[in-house]
């Protein structure tokens, strides 16, 4: 379908304009932009909730919010950031860049692409409006553990429907990514030649298709327990509350990699560009990424070490989880080997990529610590876990997204962002991120539970520091917004090749990327990681 659409493009290759350009968008670049703006708005909304949480925790005692509202903030902060900010941001980036990187005219299913995106705003509206209904929003934590999630008001039902809708959206987005990568690569762009970002997106898409239906299933079971008299999670009716956790984390652990693998892909593009060197160990990167994807399915119960699993089960999941450290380590070592003996420059994308490697390594190592079941008994459910996954998701996923946005901004818009502001944004985020989240390791070690609105006095100092850090970090993100908005209008025109070391396909076409690119497939000669040796026969409109 998409192919024929685009091939007919000369008949209507002017851009559609006005609201219909966006509402009826079928162009991968327009849809990519929609995704990215949507996810940024969600990022700000989830961020405001985080700041509400940190404001309440600035000092002991209840100052601003009742406990039930506090729980709604922690729950929605998690759901909004995971399903509203990070996942759509990666899908948006894949939409924008994948066709350009592999030489495809558009995404394979252009109309389905439109539907994948336009499902998201209603889902987000359901989540946000649930604050206003009687009983408020869901307050069972983003994990929505039963039987607690069977107690809530209608806000929980709205959350369940929102998850259904977002799940459908991301499964359709993934189908599009898989078909585009498998079927629409330009001649010469072999699978074992294509960019790591394409590999990461491909594996992520398979993970999404495998586990989002599992999540949809388990929240549906909660829904029928709530309203239709089933007893999946009610022991009195023959059910089992722990069944919920097994199903949820069978989704939940691959979900962690759904948010991490695309980040690995981005870093594997940015580091070689600014090191002016090919990616070290491309083949082992592909295998490492794939094995992380496979392993992610057999480690789920490490989230359940305190539920009372038998010793043998604890040991199996402990060993399997530790094993993931091996391919993850390979990736970190490969990135550093790529930098080694390079000729590096440190523009904003590179800074965020280096920040990513450092902080993600910390998150990975605290993950190894948590994987040790015997020690997880102390750390489970404490702020140590909060620190760990924010190192992985904020310094990991979010920093990689900033890196990507600065990296591809010239290609997307034809303008340069403000480099000084970009660097300022990086250093500001780097400092305040650590001020916010590093002390949480200490809080967790000392025994402070997660998800509490008030705390004992010995936790005061580190909570205050974390709150100050969080507000500074949050405000700093407005620098990014300001930079993007002003550069869109007044940024210096971007040169055709803004980054000296960039050699993947998207840099071989005009800047900004034409509205319809590769209307005829180019013949390329590619090397590892999508670097283009030669290309001829491309056409754009």
């Amino acid at each position: 379908m998409a192919m024929t659409d685009v091939q007919q493009a000369p008949a209507h290759h002017h851009k559609p304009s006005g609201w219909s350009r966006w509402l009826m968008a079928t162009n991968h670049k327009d849809i990519g932009s929609l995704y990215l703006w949507f996810s940024f708005i969600m990022f700000l909304s989830g961020g405001v909730m985080a700041l509400c949480i940190r404001a309440e925790l600035f000092r002991p005692g209840l100052q601003f919010f009742a406990p039930e509202l506090f729980n709604q903030f922690t729950t929605l902060h998690g759901l909004v950031m995971v399903f509203g900010a990070i996942m759509p941001a990666f899908t948006g980036l894949a939409n924008w860049m994948l066709p350009l990187m592999i030489g495809a005219p558009d995404m394979a299913f252009a109309r389905m692409n439109n539907w994948s995106f336009w499902l998201l705003p209603p889902a987000a509206a359901l989540l946000m409006l649930s604050f206003l209904v009687p009983g408020g929003a869901a307050a069972a934590g983003w994990t929505l553990y039963a039987p607690l999630s069977t107690q809530m008001g209608i806000g929980m039902d709205m959350t369940i429907f929102a998850i259904h809708i977002m799940g459908v959206s991301s499964v359709m987005g993934s189908i599009n990514i898989i078909v585009t990568i498998l079927n629409l690569r330009a001649p010469g762009m072999d699978l074992m030649k294509m960019p790591m970002f394409a590999w990461a997106s491909l594996i992520t898409a398979f993970l999404i298709i495998a586990v989002m239906p599992v999540l949809a299933g388990v929240v549906t079971m909660v829904l029928t327990d709530r309203h239709f008299g089933t007893h999946f999670f009610n022991a009195a009716g023959g059910g089992d509350p722990i069944l919920y956790q097994h199903i949820f984390w069978f989704f939940g652990h691959p979900e962690v990699y759904i948010m991490a693998l695309p980040a690995f892909g981005i870093i594997s593009q940015v580091i070689p560009t600014f090191s002016r060197k090919p990616l070290f160990g491309y083949t082992s990167m592909v295998y490492a990424t794939s094995s992380i994807g496979v392993l992610s399915f057999i480690v789920w119960a490490h989230h359940m070490f305190v539920t009372g699993l038998p010793a043998t089960v604890q040991l199996f999941f402990m060993y399997a989880t530790m094993l993931i450290a091996v391919p993850t380590g390979v990736k970190v070592f490969n990135w550093i080997a790529t930098m080694w003996e390079g000729a590096m420059t440190f523009e904003t994308p590179m800074l965020f990529a280096i920040g990513f490697i450092l902080l993600f390594t910390i998150g990975g190592l605290s993950g190894v610590t948590l994987s040790v079941a015997a020690l997880d008994i102390q750390l489970h459910g404490t702020y140590y876990v909060v620190a760990h996954f924010h190192y992985v998701l904020v310094a990991g996923a979010l920093f990689s997204l900033f890196s990507a946005m600065y990296y591809w901004f010239p290609k997307m818009t034809g303008r340069m962002y403000n480099e000084r502001l970009g660097k300022f944004h990086f250093w500001w985020s780097m400092v305040w991120f650590n001020v916010t989240f590093f002390p949480m390791h200490f809080l967790g070690l000392a025994g402070m539970p997660r998800r509490i609105p008030d705390y004992a006095l010995q936790f005061t100092e580190f909570n205050s520091i974390a709150s100050v850090g969080a507000f500074c970090f949050g405000l700093g993100q407005l620098i990014f917004l300001y930079n993007i908005l002003t550069s869109l209008k007044n940024g210096k025109p971007a040169p055709a090749l803004p980054w000296e070391g960039a050699d993947t396909l998207e840099w071989k076409i005009p800047t900004p990327a034409p509205y319809h690119s590769f209307v005829e497939a180019p013949q390329v000669e590619a090397d590892h990681n999508g670097s283009i040796v030669s290309m001829h026969g491309d056409k754009h409109h």
């Binding site: 002991p60 406990p67 160990g281 082992s284 539920t307 003996e341 590096m344 280096i354």
Partner: protein
């Protein structure tokens, strides 16, 4: 006050093993991180683009790649061995000297000494609405009745919950175990050092998750025996005569106490509840008119709202009679009606 940077000081052998495991992991992961950091910093300083510098275009080295796959694997085995020993020790509750059943409720704990015919509830003792409470040294970590155990004895805990999943966590003991409604789980500890050890619920269990602390009071064997005798005598003395006929004012006073300990979290001190989540009792038909319905919902819980528990399982006939009487005479519900313990006894017989 010095800032706590590490795990709490362990007072059981398991907690000590956990402490050492953490130290081991901290050292190993710390060295790995420093290694990564130093190599990267070296590259950043020495391998930057300066005039005339060209990047070396290598992109593979089989030896190095095998090494950095195999060495981390070996390091992991080195971590897994001591960790495995500790897991097996944590899981072996055999040979316990005594058993205590721990039940999680929204939002308090109950302890039943299985061999002693003794059981009691343990509530948060920090006043919730008093700003001066922030001056208390154990703010939010104090209870009215701690779990008292003897030192040097292997104490087995059997855990379950009444409503949702809770988690029983005392850092110094190195014990954390979920309490799951409808299922029994076990764990154990043996405290070496007398003292008071504090912890909290670590599984989100609703609105007052942050307000159900755990306090373990470990005493010498003789002190424990003494406490046990006194506590049992106290329990006997406090036991109500179920046939006693109460007067309205006495019942209301008793009922207010029961209400404050059990009902206030949801229905609120004002009796107005929290709109949309927890219904009001002030002026509600069930608390002003339908007396049998009122007795029924307090005894057996609500079919429509799982948050309303079956209090018959937790409270005595007298307590239930008192709290119903209180609810029917507070916040302008001036029915003047009384419910006697005997009525509750009859209602139980009819429904159970």
């Amino acid at each position: 006050m010095s800032l706590a940077l590490n795990l709490q000081e362990p007072v059981t052998r398991i907690a000590e093993q956990e402490f050492h495991l953490h130290t081991l992991l901290l050292v190993i992961t710390g060295i790995i991180f420093l290694g990564v950091l130093l190599v990267m910093l070296y590259a950043i300083v020495r391998h930057r683009k300066v005039a005339g510098r060209e990047a070396k275009q290598f992109h593979e080295n089989t030896t190095v790649e095998i090494l950095w796959t195999v060495i981390p694997f070996l390091i992991l085995i080195g971590m897994a061995l001591p960790a495995t020993r500790t897991v097996l020790a944590q899981k072996s509750a055999a040979g316990a000297d005594m058993t205590i059943k721990v039940t999680g409720y929204q939002w308090k704990w109950r302890y039943d000494y299985m061999d002693e015919n003794l059981g009691f509830m343990s509530h948060l003792a920090t006043p919730r609405d008093d700003p001066a409470a922030l001056a208390r040294p154990d703010y939010l970590l104090e209870v009215d009745e701690p779990l008292v155990v003897p030192v040097g004895r292997k104490v087995r805990l059997l855990l379950t919950a009444n409503d949702v999943i809770h988690s029983w966590y005392v850092p110094a003991l190195g014990v954390k175990q979920d309490a799951i409604p409808g299922f029994l789980r076990d764990t154990w500890f043996r405290v070496d050092k007398p003292g008071i050890y504090r912890g909290q619920c670590t599984e989100l269990c609703g609105k007052d998750h942050g307000y159900m602390p755990i306090v373990v009071d470990a005493r010498s064997e003789t002190d424990y025996r003494k406490w046990l005798d006194e506590r049992k005598k106290l329990a006997m003395a406090a036991a109500d005569d179920p046939a006693k006929v109460w007067k309205l004012p006495d019942l209301v006073v008793r009922g207010e106490k029961v209400y404050t300990q059990n009902c206030v979290a949801c229905h609120q001190a004002s009796g107005k509840g929290i709109p949309g989540t927890f219904p009001a009792l002030a002026g509600s038909p069930i608390a002003t008119k339908d007396k049998p319905g009122h007795i029924n919902i307090v005894l057996n819980g609500s079919k429509r709202n799982a948050a309303m528990q079956a209090w018959g399982k937790q409270l005595s006939d007298t307590d239930i009679a008192a709290v119903i009487t209180y609810e029917r005479n507070a916040w302008g519900n001036n029915t003047g009606e009384m419910v006697q313990p005997a009525e509750i006894h009859k209602a139980r017989a009819g429904t159970s």
